[in-house]
Symmetry: C2
Subunit: 456 residues, 2 copies
């Protein structure tokens, strides 16, 4: 195993931490406490400043056969950043420079440790727009790519994957790869860049990201549509999508959940009526266009028994609604034992919610469920009572089985990390896990990088 002195020789004395009390926040992520993996006892934290230093660390780790766990912003919720074996935590936080916002090419070049919120601000200051919005603005851009983050704005523009144009990464054997570039088309061989997206830090350490940007939309509006009944809300969604309008986002939340988040933020949820809500975000080239879209969406919702429709046009009002929605998980976290991330074909989302209800009734619990209604991506929250009653895993597996029966997967945007590995036996396999492990060996023959994360 590597010792601190060897690391100090690479990064300097100030950037190697060995005292446990100085690294507590680096040993956990945002995973709910009940299922959070336990960090190993003997861990050294290292903070390199460049891809070259990371290369030296990985070469050393490969020689000494020492596990290295990559860490970005630590905002993941499936244990993917937790050092579960004795070894090194490699934080990319010092790679924090936005190298360029390139207006002519509509691209941003950012080092892996740049906070997502800082990147958004730089992009906005340049008069441009980065569409995806995974919840946590303290996530790092390298982590967003490593996890292929999703979030609320994937309806119109898709997930992070669609915006990655170039990646620099250091592989476990020490080579620094540059994949892609400021390019919109690239068919030069097998696409290693797309393989890195959602590799969860198991194939290499991402050090730099090139994202595609969009011109700023000229106008936007957010509708909050209230229903008395969850299924009336959900049934509206396919009809909106088929109408020819593609909103930036269509979110589904229920009153009990969204009000907890609003209260925690000291804000007010704007809809007075109804129990179930669709949040529809619209963007367009002009105010008139957004207004016309809003009218058409409203007409569809009224046909489906909407009891109230609020239209937020001012930027601040819209930001408040997104903020309350984004902070739902943070506000529930203390009472939640596990947050699921099932994804089913989008038209099956109503059926899936029925299944979750039935399971909740059978186990005499409540399972708050919200999610990205137009993406088929739902986050049922399993509460702490299930953990205390010793049936958390059983309830989870029943929900997973229903999702898989509908053609779904057990994780749409949060990833496998550590916490989802024990239930992979439920997923149809073929030979896919064996192939994934084979690919892992090509990049990491000694299995030093984030061992035990994602790939079994």
């Amino acid at each position: 195993m590597i010792n601190a002195q060897q690391l100090q020789e690479i990064v300097g004395e100030d950037w190697v931490i060995t005292k446990r009390e100085q690294m507590e926040s680096y040993l956990v992520d945002e995973t709910a406490v009940a299922i959070r993996p336990k960090p190993a006892d003997n861990v050294i934290l290292v903070k390199p400043a460049s891809a070259e230093e990371i290369s030296e660390i990985l070469k050393l780790a490969n020689r000494e056969l020492t596990p290295v766990f990559v860490r970005g912003g630590g905002t993941g919720i499936c244990g993917g950043a937790v050092p579960i074996r004795d070894g090194i935590v490699l934080s990319t936080e010092r790679l924090d420079r936005i190298e360029e916002v390139d207006r002519a090419n509509l691209m941003v070049v950012a080092q892996a440790g740049v906070a997502f919120g800082a990147m958004l601000k730089a992009v906005e200051d340049a008069g441009l727009f980065f569409p995806p919005h995974p919840g946590a603005e303290n996530a790092h851009v390298g982590g967003l790519v490593a996890c292929n983050a999703g979030g609320v704005r994937a309806v119109k523009y898709g997930v992070i994957r669609n915006f990655v144009r170039g990646l620099e990464a250091v592989i476990p054997t020490g080579e620094i790869l540059m994949m892609g570039g400021k390019l919109l088309k690239n068919n030069q061989g097998l696409d290693l860049m797309h393989l890195f997206i959602n590799s969860g830090g198991t194939l290499g350490v991402i050090t730099k990201v090139i994202f595609r940007l969009c011109p700023k939309f000229i106008s936007s509006g957010t509708l909050v549509i209230s229903y008395d009944n969850r299924h009336e809300a959900i049934d509206t969604v396919p009809e909106i999508l088929q109408s020819g309008i593609t909103p930036l986002a269509i979110e589904y939340v229920e009153r009990n959940v969204i009000e907890i988040s609003a209260r925690r933020l000291g804000m007010r949820w704007p809809a007075a009526k109804g129990q179930a809500f669709l949040i529809v975000m619209l963007t367009g080239d002009s105010e008139d266009e957004v207004y016309a879209q809003g009218e058409r969406v409203s007409n569809i919702c009224e046909k489906h028994q909407a009891v109230d429709i609020l239209i937020a046009e001012r930027k601040e009002e819209q930001a408040d609604i997104l903020k309350i929605r984004s902070e739902v998980y943070s506000s529930l976290k203390d009472n939640v034992a596990d947050v699921l991330d099932i994804t089913v074909p989008p038209a099956s989302i109503g059926v899936m919610m029925d299944k979750v209800d039935t399971i909740a009734q059978r186990f005499d619990t409540t399972i708050p469920t919200y999610g990205h209604a137009a993406d088929g991506n739902l986050h049922p929250h399993l509460m702490r009572d299930l953990h205390e009653r010793g049936i958390l895993r059983q309830v989870k597996r029943e929900i997973y089985q229903e999702a898989i029966k509908l053609g779904g997967v057990i994780t749409g945007e949060h990833g496998l990390g550590v916490v989802r590995l024990p239930d992979l036996d439920l997923c149809p396999d073929g030979k896919t896990w064996e192939l994934m492990r084979g690919i892992k060996r090509v990049f990491d023959p000694n299995n030093i990088l984030s061992p035990g994360i994602g790939l079994l």
Copy 2:
């Protein structure tokens, strides 16, 4: 080596062809004659009807160590479907069923051998829309995915990759994999589906594809903007993109090229003035919206010395313009020795065209160049005189070097195939080729599937 009888036992007598004269069209693709790879002498053509039959063929080939070359529509232009070693040509043409156009999920499920044009028609008949439009409508959908086809409509919606949601493929060891599904989000481990996209038939035989669809746009318009000068046209493009309007397509063509295509089709190129043209395709939720976009694009073009602007609103007029553009390569093919596919950062496309001009002058030739102006993807055409003078490769390599200096790649949408492999030494490597070859071995340990294509 496998013999015909072994194959007949799997697929039946009618579907194994051994007579050379009955398989001539299966031994070539659309690659220009001057650089087309020579097919091997001893080839058996087999036409299986299902993934299960393909699995049996691959298991047999693995046992007998016989190369198998996968063939879709044969419309590729880099030799990727040509059997360059003795062995089997496996055509997926009998997997020709569109299994479902799923309106509720906005997805189409098609077997690999479905012709692209047939799929487009089925989608349109269901009132939906598939945005990408790679030129050849006789391409097969499996091939579109294997090559990650691009085409003219990638500005607004991206390339084929963005629309693939699920894939079924048979790997060389015989297992049938189902990757993805009718899913908009899927983070369940390393993304093998994205690895298959642009694998060019080297990792497995794609047998079924699930594509995402869009609702039909309500209105569209196509502008043909005429310029006297190529650079005035090209300089307009970034300004259009930054204005907040994202056209479906922005194409660049010159009169000498586009008129050859129009004449061959017995059609008329509608622009009387100018030598250099931008074709801008716009879509929107209403006629008013498209009209407003058209006005804004026109204003930008007029500032950049456009000499004429035609607006086609009728569907037939627009289809004619796309048709003439789509058939440019077919119409030039007889006089072309090689069509390049360089891609540079989009803002560098003007500089890149200057470089091509300079090289053309230096070698005393003309190099017709057209392409997807907003994507940075250019197709310089090297004419037969260069082949006859023995300097084809030299000119090509000089163009490649300039593209690479600008941060570009030697293929944006056509792929490596066979014809681009000898010039890979020009591309920055790191360890990428070695990693690609390692991945290939994971899927195909005996190197039986399309050996010599794409991955060296």
